[in-house]
Every structure is written in structure tokens, then in C-alpha cells.
Amino acid sequence: MTEQLAQTASSHPTLDSSTSMNTWELAKKRANAYLKLHRLPETEREQLLTRITSKLARAGLFGEQELIQLFISTAQAEVALLQAQAKADSSPQKAAQPTHSVTDEQDGKADNRTQTGPRFERSSIRVAPLQAITLLPSSRPRQRLITK
């Protein structure tokens, strides 16, 4: 998606350079904020940001909205790549963490769900009958309480 957006750059009119610089900084700041929330080590985050910035430097000028979209989608792709690499490099034994089952945010799969409880061992349960008794003769018919 990033490449497609970048390839359409040539059809956009040229923007004022100071405006485009502000827009660029804004989008970069947004991507930086996004990466910060991943709690990556500082150096790793800076490297990622540099990589994103240089990737997008080749893409021409965009409006604020498109640039933000580009930066964020690129950041997401880079983070996903980083995590995939980390998974491939990590030891086979997973740490015992309840958050260990991290879902790929762009392709959430059911089998990556965190098990918050043991496997079900389903039972069917019948409703208890509650049938009224009649103490005295009554003109009303004997009432049977509803059971499900």
C-alpha cells in the first residue's frame, strides 16, 4: 500500500516547501508517537523511524492527511516485520506470560487467542422441576410452574 501511494505522488501538484516541511514533521511526529507506545528501546525506535523516513523520502509531496496515513501504515508494517523477526529469533520455549499470545493486528487469527481459562468440557443441565402441590380443593385448575 505504501508503494502504491508513493507511486501516485507524481500526479499531485507541488506544495509550498515550508508547508510541506511542516506537514512532513507532523506526520513524522505522529509516527514517532505511535512507535513510542510500542515501548521499544530508544535506539531501536529511532532506527525504525529513520528507516520509515528514508523510505518515504523518495515518495514526493503529499497533503497532511495522506502523509500521516503513509507514515502510520509504514510504521505498522515495520513494527510487524520487527516482531516477526524477533519471533523467529526467540527461543522455542515461550515465557509464561498471559499476554504471550500476541495477535497480528492486520491478520488476527483465532488460534492466537489468549487462553484465559481451561478448555471447555461442556455439560448440558436440565431445569429443576417445581410443581405446585394442592392443599385444598380449588375451583382453579392445578397450577404447574413453568420449567425450561
Binding site: 502510520i72 493486528e105 484465559t116 481459562g117 417445581l130 425450561k148
Partner: protein, 675 residues
């Protein structure tokens, strides 16, 4: 009763005891009623006499029942203990042999999450200390339908598992649809996991149970294969309003006596009080799935007070239900103020009145019919009392020259007997405290005595207030007005005068008018009824007084749980403070956090299923929801819409990216600034 054999020793004992017990009650009630009836003025017509004597007999019967229970209790505590179901608290802790784990269930619904999880952690740690944690697993069963609460519960569960270093022992499940409220929640657990666990311990959101108590309960179930349920005695702790501390004191000083007394005549047909109980899972699953009562009447619909009914159904199926009367280590929190207690009672009143339909069901054991009736009477008796007082007032007005209760020897004896039954059991509490050398834990002899005097004074004043409210509840319910069974207020205090006027004002005015009428019409009757009138007139300041925060350093209403708290109570205080400081508790809006914070988003995504077949109509509705959320921010959608988003992985993924791609102003104003 038992499925397994004919006469079983405890049943014969129970029968003998109940004959003696109810005979004594009948004698006392008969004597009192005779004295009253025989000494009524002859000028009074037969109908008036009937209206005086019959309600009196009913009320006196329940008074005598309470007193005789206390007498039985003091006997058991000093000379009894042969028919206990669980090992004595002072005996060595048994070593469990079961291979299967016991499930500890924590059904919650929009609760104070820090309190709930701190409690769970404390129970976990208490079990760890016994060295028998491996025999237990915890299930947090959430019915929370507030999006923020749900998210906070998830985050807190994750944090708790990390703190205690366990992912296999503490489970979390949130139910999407709150069918049949708490009883449905427990039954849902049974459907999913009932087969895994031979026993389940049901807790309430504010319950605490020590590891010692839990181990003894499991041991008792292992040794007694006919037992379906063991209820523990409940001790109230944890709050500092005057009302709550009074309740905690009363519970501690008299509770052991009454629990022992109840055990004495209940034996294997005990009631179930809804929590802090161990239940044989298969027995519960086989017999306690509650039906819905027929709609249309005032008492129809879902069974609200499920606990009494479940005990009756277990008993009907031949299972024994016991009260482990002297077990220590089972705690809950009282309502913080009189008003909170009354709000809780409104819900319970509706649930208990419904039991009128259960009493007449086939197969319910007679004692359980009586116990269900007792639950009903705990509210209906207020209406009877009010009616009786109205009759006395009417007599006072229509016969102003008449002395309704002249000072004859019989009436003096009646007065003495009534006061004796009302107040003498309090000396049992003092006697027990002296015998067990716990007087210092109640504030010394001075503290203990002043606490008893104060709680007597307060209960005398609040009884008429309860009478008015309970009467109102009964009338409303029989008129078909429903109680909403919402979240209980579990903390609090600090009522303001305006609120107190609004809640209690009508009672004060009623008391004032009543008092003036009697003072004018019949000053002697006014004198007799002055304690009741005083309670009504002063209900507003009384309501305020009960909500006042007290210092735990004062000598008033001190209890052993304050002076020498159990390990679990100390652990709880630390865990609660730590949980409150946890970031997941302080984050303002977790809904925003899940949508914005990539880690929170990823974590939540792992909890929800991936839905593949979304109908077109639903898809369009959801697209509209996404559009509105992005344009106008989180405040533009309702809680139920938030829940829809939180349960839909596809919407979440879409929103997470699109929020980050919003224009700068929108992004900051609606999202980043609120993170």
C-alpha cells in the same frame, strides 16, 4: 431424606431437637399470648381483641425463635460440637488427597475491580501459606456490561497473573449476555467447566476466605459423600462508618452464638446464604438449575434470591446441607450505611417474597419450607408489626379512657419476659468473650459494655425505620413494582442532609404526626409507644449518624478483626493499595487506550474471537458506527456501542489504524489528549 439409607443418626437427633425447640417456642408464645389476651380490658370488643392478640402471637413467635436459637447456641459453644461437619478450627490442618482441583468462583458485575482482585490475591496467598494451593483454581466470572469495567478487569487479570506468577491457576471469563444474573453466571461456569471440578466454592465480590477455611471445607466434602453443600458463618469486616462498624461488632459478638444455635436445629438441612460456601458441583448441576416462575403475578419471573431455593432443591434430591458453625476465616463486607442496607433489603425482599411460590412445590423438605417462610417473615413481620401498632393507636383514639395494657401481675410478667427475650441474649456475648479471653479484643470491659449499650440503643432506634421501609417494600412488591437487581454499593459513607431528608423525611413526618395524635388522644399509649415514635421522628439525623466515618482507634465497636487481624486481612490491605496504584486502575478511559495504544490493542485482540460471517445489515450498522466514532470522537457513542466495538476484532483493527491516521486536530482533541 437421604438417597442412600434409612435412618441416619443426625436425622434422629435433628428430629428430637426440633421437637424440643419448637415446643419451647410454642410454650413461650402460648404463655405470652394468653397473658396478653386474658388481661385485655373487657370493654374492648372481640374483633379488637383479635386484632391485638393474633399479630402479637405471630410477632412473639419469631422473637422466641431468635431467643431459643441463642440459647441453643450458647449450649453448643460450651457443651456441644459432636455433630460438626468440618474439623474444628483449632485442630491440625488436614492434608488434602484429591487429585482434582476445587474451583473458587468469583462472579462479578461492574464491581470495584481493585477490591475484587486484591481479595482474590489475598485468598491465593493465604492458600499458598497452607502449602495446598495446588488443589485449587480460581475463576473470575464476569458479567460486567460496562466497556471500561470489562477492559479494566482484563488488564487487572493479566497484572494479577504476573504478580502471583501464575497463568494456569487464575482464569477469567466474561459472559456476553447476563442470563439469570448471578445464578445464571454460576450455572454457565458449570456448563463449561463443571466436569473438571468435584467441588466449587462460590464467593461474592467482597468475600475473603482464608486458606485454612478452604482446605477444611474440601476435607469435609471429601469425608462426607452425602453432603451437597457446606455454608460457612459470615463475619463482616472492612468498613469504618458508624453503621458498618456497629454491624461488624454485632456480627462478631453475637454471631458465633447464633451460628451455633442455627446449626443445632438445622444439622444437615442448613440454609445457603449465597456465597462463602462449598458445593458439590455435580449435585448442583443435577438439581439446582432454577426454573422461571410464571409471569403475570407480582411474584413471578426469574427467581431472584436463588440461594435459599438451591439449598431446598439439593435437600429435596437427598443431599445434605450443613453449616460449619464455628469455622473461622470467612469474611464479607457489610453495607456501609443504613440506606445502603435498606436498598439491599429491597432487592432481597422481592426475592424472599417469591419464595411463597416455592414453599408449595412438591418434594421440598418441611424444614426448608419453614426456612423459606422465615425468609418471607423477616419482611412481612414488619408489616404485621406496623399493622399491630396502627390497631393499638386506633384503640387509643377510640377508647381514650381505656388502659389497654393495665399493670396486672400477668402483664408485668409479659413485659419482663418480652424484655428478657429481646435483650438477655446480649449477656451471652459478654460471657463468651470472657470465656474465650477476647474481651481485650473488643476494647476491654469498658469498650465492650459501651459498644453493647450503643448498638442496643441504635438498633432500638433503627428498628422502627426498618419497619416502615420493609412495610413499604412489601406493599410495593405485592402491587407489582419491581426492584432493580443492580450493583450493590459496597463502600461509602458521607450522606448529606439533603439526601437524608429525601430518603427519611417521610418517616420523620409520619412519626411526628403519629406522636402528636397519641399525645393528644391517649398520653399513656404515647408513653408505651415512645421508643417507636422516637425512632421514626429522629430517622433523618439517625440516617446521617449511621453514615459518619469513625476512627478505628476509638474503643467503640472494636472487634478482634481490627485488633488482631488475620493474615488475610493484612494481606488484603497491602494488595488493595498496590492494586489501586496499578496503571490499569488509574487510566482514565480504557476504551480509548485500547483503540490508541498498540500494546493494549494487541492484548485485547487476543481475548476476543474472530467473527467471520457478519450479516450485511450488521456490517452497514457497524460502518456507520465507525464513521461516527471517527468524526465525533468517543463521547459520541454509547456504552453498548462501545461493547459492540470491543467484541468485534475486525472493527477494532480498522479503528486502531484509522484513529492513528486522523487529522492532527481531531486526533489530539478526541484521542491523544485523553489517553
Amino acid at each position: 431424606m437421604s438417597e442412600h439409607s434409612g435412618q441416619i443418626p443426625w436425622q434422629a437427633t435433628a428430629l428430637r431437637r426440633r421437637v424440643v425447640f419448637f415446643s419451647a417456642i410454642a410454650v413461650l408464645t402460648g404463655l405470652a399470648t394468653f397473658w396478653l389476651g386474658a388481661n385485655l380490658p373487657s370493654e374492648l370488643g372481640f374483633l379488637w381483641k383479635l386484632l391485638v392478640v393474633v399479630p402479637f402471637a405471630v410477632l412473639f413467635l419469631w422473637l422466641a425463635l431468635g431467643f431459643m436459637t441463642a440459647v441453643a447456641g450458647i449450649w453448643v459453644l460450651n457443651f456441644g460440637g459432636q455433630n460438626r461437619i468440618a474439623s474444628a478450627p483449632t485442630s491440625p490442618l488436614p492434608q488434602l488427597q484429591t487429585r482434582d482441583t476445587t474451583a473458587i468462583l468469583l462472579p462479578i458485575y461492574n464491581e470495584d475491580i481493585a477490591y475484587v482482585y486484591a481479595g482474590l490475591q489475598s485468598i491465593y496467598q493465604s492458600l499458598e501459606k497452607t502449602g495446598q494451593l495446588q488443589h485449587f483454581e480460581f475463576y473470575i466470572l464476569s458479567d460486567s456490561d460496562d466497556a471500561s469495567n470489562w477492559l479494566r478487569e482484563e488488564a487487572a487479570w493479566s497484572a494479577l497473573c504476573r504478580t502471583v506468577g501464575s497463568v494456569d491457576r487464575i482464569h477469567y471469563r466474561r459472559r456476553k449476555h447476563r442470563t439469570k444474573k448471578k445464578s445464571g453466571n454460576v450455572m454457565d461456569f458449570c456448563r463449561r467447566w463443571g466436569k473438571r471440578h468435584p467441588y466449587m466454592v462460590v464467593l461474592d465480590a467482597d468475600s475473603l476466605m482464608t486458606g485454612d477455611a478452604l482446605v477444611r471445607l474440601v476435607d469435609a466434602m471429601d469425608r462426607n459423600e452425602r453432603v451437597g453443600l457446606i455454608q460457612t458463618p459470615l463475619y463482616t469486616i472492612g468498613l469504618d462508618t458508624l453503621y458498618a462498624r456497629g454491624q461488624q461488632f454485632v456480627n462478631r459478638i453475637y454471631g458465633p452464638i447464633f451460628f451455633a444455635g442455627l446449626h443445632w436445629w438445622w444439622l444437615g438441612e442448613s440454609q445457603y446464604w449465597g456465597h462463602n460456601v462449598i458445593i458439590r458441583t455435580q449435585a448442583f448441576m443435577g438439581h439446582c438449575h432454577l426454573p422461571k416462575l410464571p409471569e403475570g403475578g407480582a411474584l413471578g419471573g426469574e427467581i431472584l434470591s436463588h440461594d435459599f431455593v438451591e439449598a431446598a432443591l439439593l435437600s429435596r434430591a437427598g443431599w445434605e446441607t450443613w453449616l460449619a458453625y464455628d469455622m473461622e476465616g470467612s469474611f464479607e463486607r457489610p453495607p456501609p450505611t443504613l440506606m445502603d442496607s435498606l436498598k439491599r433489603d429491597r432487592r432481597w425482599c422481592q426475592g424472599n417474597l417469591q419464595h411463597w411460590l416455592i414453599i408449595w412445590a412438591h418434594g421440598i423438605p418441611n424444614l426448608h419450607r419453614f426456612l423459606l417462610l422465615g425468609g418471607i417473615m423477616s419482611y412481612i413481620s414488619s408489616l404485621i408489626w406496623l399493622g399491630w401498632l396502627v390497631v393499638l393507636t386506633a384503640i387509643a383514639v377510640f377508647y381514650p379512657k381505656l388502659t389497654l395494657i393495665p399493670l396486672t401481675p400477668e402483664n408485668t410478667a409479659l413485659l419482663v419476659m418480652t424484655l428478657f427475650l429481646l435483650f438477655f441474649y446480649k449477656t451471652f456475648g459478654i460471657a463468651q468473650a470472657i470465656r474465650k479471653r477476647t474481651v481485650e479484643h473488643f476494647g476491654g470491659i469498658l469498650g465492650l459494655s459501651s459498644s453493647i449499650l450503643m448498638e442496643t440503643f441504635l438498633s432500638m432506634l433503627t428498628a422502627p425505620v426498618r419497619m416502615m421501609f420493609y412495610s413499604k417494600f412489601v406493599v410495593q412488591i405485592l402491587q407489582g413494582k419491581r426492584a432493580v437487581w443492580g450493583t450493590q454499593q459496597r463502600t461509602g459513607g458521607g450522606l448529606v442532609w439533603a439526601d437524608a431528608m429525601r430518603e427519611y423525611g417521610w418517616i420523620s413526618w409520619t412519626g411526628l404526626a403519629w406522636g402528636v395524635l397519641l399525645l393528644i388522644a391517649n398520653p399513656m399509649t404515647f408513653l408505651w409507644m415512645s421508643p417507636v415514635i422516637a425512632g421514626l421522628v429522629f430517622s433523618v439525623p439517625l440516617g446521617m449518624l449511621t453514615s459518619v466515618q469513625t476512627s478505628l482507634k476509638t474503643n467503640l465497636f472494636r472487634t478482634p478483626d481490627e485488633v488482631a487481624p488475620d493474615y488475610i486481612l493484612q494481606a488484603f490491605e497491602q494488595n488493595y493499595a498496590a492494586m489501586l496504584a496499578n496503571p490499569c486502575m488509574s487510566t482514565r478511559d480504557l476504551f480509548i487506550r485500547v483503540l490508541v495504544d498498540p500494546l493494549a490493542f494487541k492484548q485485547h485482540m487476543t481475548y476476543i474471537p474472530q467473527r467471520t460471517n457478519v450479516p450485511e445489515g450488521t456490517r452497514q450498522q457497524r460502518e456507520e458506527l465507525v464513521k461516527r466514532l471517527l468524526e465525533k470522537g468517543p463521547s459520541s457513542i454509547s456504552n453498548s456501542e462501545r461493547l459492540v466495538i470491543m467484541e468485534d476484532a475486525e472493527m477494532l483493527t480498522q479503528l486502531h489504524t484509522q484513529v492513528w491516521q486522523l487529522p492532527e486536530t481531531q486526533f489530539h482533541e478526541h484521542w491523544m489528549s485523553k489517553l
